[in-house]
């Protein structure tokens, strides 16, 4: 039994802890506070604007993830169908720190040409959690 528990714990630590979208929201809020002492919270409305707009480069979040994140997206270059981004439609989203970190790194670079701020990530997550 103890062996099994150890194995499970080892597996979890190797593959990244399972978390919930709310855990990420808290983490982003902590970072946002550090980035900006005047931080007051996240805005789903602001997140939707951010998600739907381009930011000086060719693609927006919506270019691949679709205008409505509750439905499937289509990769703007390859045409591959992508599973929905909103946690309500896809329970796997925002549950793995390594995945969340990897994709924000890549996609912020792609869409903005720089890393996203914690405010931007939190606003987008707030939007994704607000859609039904």
């Amino acid at each position: 039994m103890r062996f099994m528990l150890t194995t499970v714990l080892l597996f979890l630590s190797a593959s990244g802890h399972a978390e919930t979208p709310a855990d990420f929201e808290k983490q982003f809020a902590n970072h946002a506070q550090q980035e900006n002492p005047a931080f007051t919270g996240f805005s789903a409305e602001q997140g939707q604007r951010f998600y739907s707009s381009t930011h000086g480069k060719e693609w927006s979040c919506a270019s691949c993830h679709g205008r409505t994140p509750t439905g499937p997206g289509q990769h703007a270059a390859t045409g591959k169908t992508l599973a929905p981004l909103a946690p309500v439609a896809n329970a796997k989203r925002f549950t793995r720190p390594d995945e969340v970190e990897k994709w924000f790194k890549r996609n912020c670079n792609e869409v903005l040409g720089r890393a996203c701020t914690a405010q931007e990530k939190g606003d987008v997550l707030a939007y994704l959690l607000s859609v039904r």
């Binding site: 270059a77 045409g79 890549r106």
Partner: protein, 166 residues
């Protein structure tokens, strides 16, 4: 081929195809029914990471020299950022090198970075294709194998599973 011997014949072709793949002289098993299969491989990180934006392209379709060039340039992967952590990148590259295909000619003469640049791919797609095939909304790009080869994720590129979307 007679119907009664068809099954056995197909099996023989499959074995022959597998031998060809193993000997490195051809990536695709091809018999006279237009049956085309790529030996399915499994490697968890390769499947998960490479299939995030496109089909996890079979390692057999490019030579090791191409995979090395691709995996060492993931930060600018055909115009997109596909960077991985170094450990995972090395792990996937080992798998690709181990299972890589024979060297393939490309139009430019240098090792191909895109499967679609290989003479082999161009030849395989040269016939019976409507001119607008790659541009159709359901296809969008030649990178999207599964749009037409509907069982490509299982290594099955046979004509039975082929359909051209609108």
């Amino acid at each position: 081929m007679m119907t009664t011997s068809r099954y056995r014949g197909r099996r023989q072709h499959l074995w022959l195809g597998l031998l060809l793949v193993l000997s490195g002289s051809g990536a695709l098993a091809d018999d006279d029914d237009g049956e085309k299969r790529i030996r399915p491989l499994n490697h968890a990180a390769w499947r998960q990471e490479c299939s995030a934006c496109h089909l996890a392209y079979p390692p057999q379709l490019l030579p090791a020299v191409s995979w090395r060039a691709l995996m060492n340039g993931l930060g600018h992967h055909f115009g997109t950022d596909a960077s991985l952590d170094p450990q995972q990148q090395a792990d996937i590259l080992r798998f690709l090198e181990t299972n890589a295909g024979p060297s393939r000619g490309s139009k430019s003469g240098s090792p191909p970075l895109r499967i679609t640049e290989t003479r082999w791919f161009i030849h395989e797609h040269s016939e019976e294709l409507p001119a607008d095939s790659w541009q159709r909304p359901g296809v969008k790009s030649a990178a999207n194998c599964i749009a037409c080869h509907t069982a490509a994720d299982r290594g099955d590129y046979s004509e039975h599973t082929l359909r051209l979307p609108r």
